[in-house]
């Protein structure tokens, strides 16, 4: 286990470094960060000044070296927009995102798994049909659009929730639901599919023949098997919610997390802040990946003993 973790950890570090190198290469080589950051009326002198300030007048490899060394010390430079360390801004904005993502993810996984289990127990029944339709809708509706429609309907029309912003729990309800919708859809479809596989497996038929009760079959046999598949998907969903869904949903609802921040930073041409957000999210993504892998290993004895499924 220890060696395995060490291996996964080194892979994770590699991933974070490659993400940062990609961002670096894109910003320094393909794009022209100074042009992006400067106002249109800037002069050559302004430009030279900013280049010097950002260290962009040095050779590219030296820049990369400094960049990596600073990043390891969690120093990603000062935000051009707010004139203070970008890392501080990201860490401030992190907790609203975590609140939103955890709420949406938990809602999505719980609801999705519930729908998947119930519909997978009786494929073809009306419950299943409704569930599959809902699942397909969940994965097909664009999140930003549903977010706006919810604002029109629930906030403006019915006046149940505030339209946007943050504050009490009432501000969290709509964004969390919108973030959860595609998660519900995908988790429900995957759980359903693996429930059907599990319930049709020979070992389940034989367990029934040996006299194991239906309730125990569903909960102990099928659900555990389906749960392993669901956890893998759930890990991807958490990553997707963090690195994609949160950006969209936070922007729609002006939720003051890192997703909204990154869009604001882009609008203000604050590349430094954008990099800081990408860095922090990359670290969280690889951490989630490790957690999923470890959970998987704990749950599935065949993996633990070095056998593949």
């Amino acid at each position: 286990m220890g060696r395995y973790l060490l291996k996964r950890l080194s892979q994770a570090v590699l991933v974070v470094i490659s993400v940062m190198v990609v961002v670096f290469v894109v910003t320094r080589l393909i794009g022209d960060p100074v042009a992006v950051m400067l106002p249109l009326e800037a002069t050559e002198e302004n430009r030279a000044l900013l280049e010097a300030q950002l260290g962009l007048d040095r050779p590219i490899l030296v820049q990369l070296g400094h960049y990596v060394v600073d990043a390891v010390q969690l120093d990603l430079g000062d935000s051009l927009w707010q004139r203070r360390p970008a890392m501080d801004i990201v860490l401030e904005r992190l907790s609203p995102t975590i609140v939103l993502v955890v709420a949406g993810f938990a809602l999505g996984v719980l609801l999705g798994a519930l729908i998947g289990v119930v519909s997978g127990m009786r494929p073809g029944g009306w419950v299943d049909r409704v569930a599959v339709t809902l699942g397909l809708l969940g994965v097909s509706l664009p999140q930003f659009w549903i977010g706006l429609v919810f604002i029109v309907f629930f906030s403006v029309g019915l006046g149940w929730f505030p339209t946007s912003g943050s504050g009490g729990i009432e501000f969290l309800v709509l964004p969390a639901i919108v973030l959860a919708l595609p998660i519900v859809g995908r988790i429900a479809l995957v759980t359903r599919s693996s429930m059907i596989d599990e319930l049709n497996a020979q070992h389940v038929k034989d367990a029934v023949a040996r006299g194991v009760s239906r309730a125990r079959i569903v909960m102990a046999h099928a659900f555990k098997g389906a749960g392993i598949a669901t956890i893998t998907i759930a890990g991807w969903e958490l990553i997707g919610a963090l690195a994609g869904g949160a950006v969209v949903v936070e922007t729609v609802y002006a939720w003051p997390g890192i997703g909204f921040t990154v869009i604001q930073a882009i609008e203000r041409h604050d590349i430094i802040l954008v990099q800081a957000v990408v860095f922090v999210v990359a670290i969280m993504v690889v951490t989630i990946n490790i957690i999923v892998d470890v959970t998987y290993t704990v749950l599935d004895p065949r993996v633990k003993f070095g056998r593949t499924r």
Binding site: Q202, H203, V208, A209, V212, K224, D300, R302, F305
Partner: protein, 337 residues
């Protein structure tokens, strides 16, 4: 009718599976009975309906399959009643199936899977159930059973897995064991060991045994009585001795011809020519007639019914081999020829 001394009695059982391409009549008018402590073998090719009979005997015909006629009685009560079946299954009748690896849940320990039936049916606590499970593992010949309980199925060899499955089947002291091809997935040496284990358990525990197989060699030593199943119907039955030495039905004879026998030097493995009939469209006449070397026009138009030749023997054939009437069959054949 239902004499209480029969443990399991199957009467005129008809099972169908509706499919898009027509209704498959998997089991047709099958009747037999098993008494306490008795062992019965059902022999047939794949597709003959033998596994369906096994599932029916557990009250487990699942949709889309349906029992459309007949009765399955356990001690006189119908297993078509789901509540009766649920109480009996695992408690009084239990089952061992073909592939032990597939038969156990790969992600639950042996101990968990052995005890889950006991805690349900025997009202045992988890600790007592585990003790009992260890005893059972020892009884089926698994060394160091206490430690094995925490292991997962894939950590056992095929033969050991099948022993575990047998132990699971015995966990509630059933009166009857249904074994559906219990040795097919195993190698030859292990097959013999498992068969021996089943036989000795049967006599030690006074179990009734319903042994289902495609291999006459498997049932030969293990069963008192045999039924030969073809295309969903019983075509011949008798004691193992009778069937082996004087098969009446040409299909039984053909099965004997296709049974690999370890005691013979040159291993004969003669496949029976032709295919079993399509059970969606059953023609008039004897089901075996298209493959039968002795078939006549009469065979192709009229279905033979089971008739008895002695107390233990029945067969469904107009031209039985090795019997007095076989002479007349030869005459008729030449007459039509």
């Amino acid at each position: 009718m239902s004499s209480p001394d029969h443990l399991l009695e199957i009467r005129n059982l008809e099972v169908v599976f509706p499919t898009r391409a027509g209704t498959v009549r998997a089991v047709r008018d099958v009747s037999f009975a098993v008494d306490a402590g008795e062992s019965l073998g059902i022999v047939g090719e794949s597709g003959s309906g033998k596994s369906t009979i096994a599932r029916a005997a557990l009250g487990l015909i699942e949709l889309p399959g349906r029992i459309v006629g007949g009765e399955v009685l356990w001690k006189g009560r119908s297993l078509r009643d789901k509540r009766v079946a649920r109480r009996v299954r695992g408690r009084e009748i239990s089952m061992v199936s073909q592939d032990p690896m597939a038969s156990m849940n790969p992600i639950l320990t042996i101990g968990t899977q052995m005890t889950e039936v006991m805690t349900r049916h025997l009202d045992l606590g988890r600790k007592e159930a585990l003790t009992r499970a260890a005893d059972l593992l020892e009884k089926v010949g698994i060394p160091d059973p206490g430690r094995r309980l925490g292991r997962y199925p894939f950590e056992f060899s095929g033969g050991m897995q099948q022993r575990v499955v047998i132990a699971m089947a015995l966990s509630c002291d059933p009166m009857m064991l249904i074994a559906d091809e219990p040795t097919t997935a195993l190698d030859v040496t292990t097959q013999a060991q498992i068969l021996e284990l089943v036989s000795s358990l049967q006599s030690d525990l006074g179990l009734a045994l319903l042994l289902i197989t495609h291999d006459l060699g498997v049932v030969a030593g293990a069963c008192d009585l045999l039924k030969v199943l073809y295309a969903g119907e019983i075509v011949e039955s008798g004691t193992a001795d009778e069937l082996f030495h004087l098969p009446h039905h040409p299909y039984t004879a053909a099965l004997l011809g296709s049974t690999p026998r370890l005691d013979q030097k040159a291993e004969r493995l003669v496949a029976i020519e032709g295919h079993p009939p399509d059970l969606r469209h059953i023609d008039a006449g004897c089901s075996f007639s298209p493959r039968c070397p002795c078939a006549t026009n009469h065979c192709r138009s009229v279905s033979p019914v089971l008739e008895s030749s002695s107390e233990s023997r029945t067969f469904a054939c107009f031209h039985p081999l090795n019997s007095r009437s076989s002479l007349s069959a030869t005459d008729e054949r030449s007459g039509h020829g």
